[in-house]
């Protein structure tokens, strides 16, 4: 037993040592300058790898059952499909839909209501949230300190084996910052390497006319907060941005989500109320609920014919980035399995 473990440790160390530093982050040529300051906090392959291990490891939860990836799966562009709202530890149900994670380096604030101000401190929320991972950060640190795998991964990433919350948080953030989605058909068209079909072109024109003010190209979000006229949900009574600002002008405003990768991230909206894109478009054309905080351009709904809707959906489908979703550098790190086997 003992020697088998030593052998495993050695092979893991060899694997880690063999990992070449990869240039992880390059700004897609057609993207704006990111919000995250990569000059001040440059990405580093060893930290990214440590962050990836942590992201996929249920060790972050109280009973070691839930990892970040339980709610943010790589195959769903790091969202959680099927579930309108998230499911956490002991199958407890949260009150918001787990958003997809990509292009986080361009966001100023995180969460549907903007409660979090920096990607590095975001992980503290799910780790401590009773319905998500329900764990104390100090207990997580104790668990990690007992693991040889993590001791060596922290050493490689930070130069010593002292495991602190700041290092843990920075590593997870570094992995998340590598999740850049900029390789959909739309991007190829934008860069002159492909072209839209006639239907996609019509959809693109309608999109620019009706949607782009909020879902701004090329990120497909301005990441501002708006009320897009959803009927208030009576189950969760979620006031969105108001909960943070206490300003009545922010009632029912939520962070505008990017429209990239929608094929992988259903259901839609902060409470996951719509399963299909056709339902979303019917909402914008027929079901807008006006209120004092409704966004100006949506006041009277968006006039769209059945064909217009089909055209917009065709455009939205050009935003699905298969290369991103199936990127092997974003998947479960198999080293974790080996490390936990036979214990």
């Amino acid at each position: 037993m003992k020697s088998a473990k030593v052998f495993l440790m050695v092979s893991i160390l060899l694997f880690l040592a063999a990992q070449k530093p990869i240039s992880f982050w390059q700004k897609p040529p057609h993207f704006p300058k990111p919000t995250f300051d990569f000059k001040e906090k440059p990405l580093d392959s060893t930290k990214v790898f440590l962050g990836r291990m942590l992201f996929f490891d249920p060790i972050l939860s109280k009973d070691n059952s839930v990892s970040c990836a339980s709610c943010h799966s790589p195959y769903n562009a790091f969202a959680h499909t099927d579930h309108p709202v998230s499911h956490g530890i002991n199958d407890q149900i949260g009150n918001r839909n787990a958003p997809a994670l990509f292009n986080l380096a361009w966001q100023k604030l995180f969460m549907w209501d903007g409660a979090i101000n920096h990607i590095e401190v975001q992980s503290l929320a799910p780790i401590s949230q009773p319905k998500e991972m329900n764990e104390n950060i100090n207990t997580v640190l104790e668990k990690l300190k007992k693991s040889n795998l993590y001791k060596s991964a922290f050493k490689r990433a930070f130069g010593d084996t002292i495991i602190t919350s700041a290092k843990l948080l920075k590593a997870i953030a570094q992995f998340e910052l590598t999740l850049v989605s900029a390789n959909a058909k739309y991007d190829k068209v934008y860069l002159g390497k492909d072209s839209f079909t006639d239907q996609e072109k019509r959809g693109y024109n309608l999109f620019k006319q009706h949607c782009n003010s909020c879902h701004q190209e090329p990120l497909f979000s301005s990441y501002e907060f708006e009320n897009n006229g959803l009927k208030a949900d009576t189950t969760y009574n979620d006031y969105g941005r108001f909960l943070m600002s206490h300003n009545p002008k922010d009632s029912f405003k939520f962070k505008i989500p990017s429209l990239r990768n929608l094929a992988y991230t259903y259901p839609y909206m902060h409470d996951g109320r719509f399963k299909k894109l056709s339902e979303v478009l019917n909402h914008y054309s027929n079901d807008i609920k006006t209120s004092s905080t409704i966004a100006e351009p949506l006041k009277n709904g968006i006039p769209l014919t059945g064909n217009d809707k089909a055209d917009i959906i065709a455009l939205l489908n050009t935003l699905n980035d298969r290369a991103f979703v199936f990127n092997p550098a974003h998947q479960f790190p198999k080293e974790l399995l080996k490390a936990n086997e036979g214990k």
């Binding site: 906090k41 409660a115 979090i116 101000n117 920096h118 990607i119 590095e120 401190v121 503290l124 929320a125 780790i127 401590s128 949230q129 950060i137 100090n138 640190l141 602190t164 919350s165 700041a166 948080l169 920075k170 953030a173 943070m244 600002s245 206490h246």
Partner: protein, 215 residues
């Protein structure tokens, strides 16, 4: 480590923050008379930021760390070094964590978010944490839980404090929370755990607790 490269002769000034209640040094989990009952403190912690010594309006020295977490469970002094002939007559500092620091990601040392002074579900530091229970026959057991803080306007709760003092090598700042705990606006509240108007109001009242100790 910081002090072994002395370019010019330096003097050390030591600054201690000493929480008191009804004129006695406050210790955790000890019962003190309070109103008609008694009170016992589990937590009293606060952040001191950008501690500086001034002579009138010129800066003489500043603390080696930007922020210090003062905690009744740990007694520590902050040491500043000043040029040996320098004079000072004023101490300035912030009570809490400023907004720039609050949006800078995961920090280390006294600002480590695992020290119980960081709100996890909403970014931002708790500037002052006071947790106490009131024990009394007619109250059963009541709790005070004041987590005061937040950096976003209009509830930015950071306070700036200036105290005039005489030059000495050891400065003792008494943090007398008696008036705070007997203040009518404080008595109205028993639980504050997020940035909001009450958090700002109580932070302003708490800031009056700081005095230069004459003892």
């Amino acid at each position: 480590m910081l002090f072994n490269v002395l370019v010019q002769a330096q003097n050390s000034i030591s600054i201690k923050f000493e929480p008191t209640f009804k004129q006695v040094r406050l210790e955790p989990n000890v019962a003190y008379p309070y109103l008609s009952d008694s009170i016992q403190f589990q937590e009293l912690k606060f952040y001191i930021g950008y501690l500086q010594l001034y002579q009138d309006d010129s800066l003489v020295a500043y603390s080696p760390q930007t922020h210090y977490l003062i905690d009744i469970h740990q007694k520590q002094a902050i040491t500043l070094s000043i040029p040996s002939k320098a004079k000072f007559n004023q101490l300035r500092f912030q009570l809490g964590v400023d907004s720039i620091t609050s949006v800078s990601g995961a920090l280390e040392g006294d600002l480590d978010p695992s020290l119980g002074m960081y709100w996890t579900w909403q970014s931002g530091y708790i500037h002052t944490k006071i947790e106490a229970s009131i024990l009394g026959s007619n109250r059963n057991k009541t709790h005070f839980t004041y987590h005061l803080g937040g950096y976003q306007f209009p509830f930015n709760s950071l306070q700036t404090i200036q105290l005039s003092l005489d030059q000495t090598e050891t400065i003792k700042i008494e943090v007398d929370i008696t008036a705070f705990l007997e203040h009518k606006d404080v008595l109205k509240q028993s639980v504050i755990m997020s940035p909001k108007p009450a958090s700002l109001a109580l932070s302003q009242i708490f800031a009056y607790s700081f005095k230069v100790s004459q003892k």
